[in-house]
Symmetry: C2
Subunit: 98 residues, 2 copies
């Protein structure tokens, strides 16, 4: 993981691998909303993600209410989206089975 800001074709290629993620408005970041059947499912998913995030020392910005989790990913050291965000997005997608 370089943690360097993704730009140009490299960025497009990376984003094409996570088609459910969208560019955030007003900020160089990516976002996705995950919806679960209930809080228990949402929380189980968040726990799995939290474990990976902390091991990789790369943390999401996320908002939860009941069965819904809004996630925003960015890399503050490069002030944009890096390969660390792409990796975490893929991890989140892979843990999401709905």
């Amino acid at each position: 993981m370089s943690g360097q800001k993704l730009v140009g074709s490299e960025r497009q290629e990376a984003l094409s691998q996570i088609p459910q993620w969208k560019e955030a408005e007003g900020r160089d970041a990516i976002k996705r909303t995950f919806q679960f059947n209930d809080f228990k499912e949402a929380w189980a998913w968040m726990n799995k993600v939290a474990d990976v995030a902390d091991k990789d020392d790369h943390h999401p910005e996320w908002f939860n209410v009941y069965n819904k989790v809004d996630v925003l990913l960015a890399t503050h050291t490069c002030n944009g989206v890096s390969d660390k965000d792409i990796k975490l997005a893929k991890t989140m997608d892979s843990f999401f089975q709905n």
Copy 2:
């Protein structure tokens, strides 16, 4: 827990028990920000809260980034603040040792 909207002196008395919580702007809800030393501490606290919230079937709206957790509590069935929110706020406070 009645889940009924707290108003008037009953509300003031209840809020006086949780002085670190403030009224939210533009919405009948209460809010507090919790700051921890790192993500691991924040997450451990959130896990303890999540367990109680799910047992009581009364869930917070919360936003986490790294060591910070912004919480908003309201009771949607009464469209305001009820004793359920006061109870959850006290639980959160009691788990917060910083």
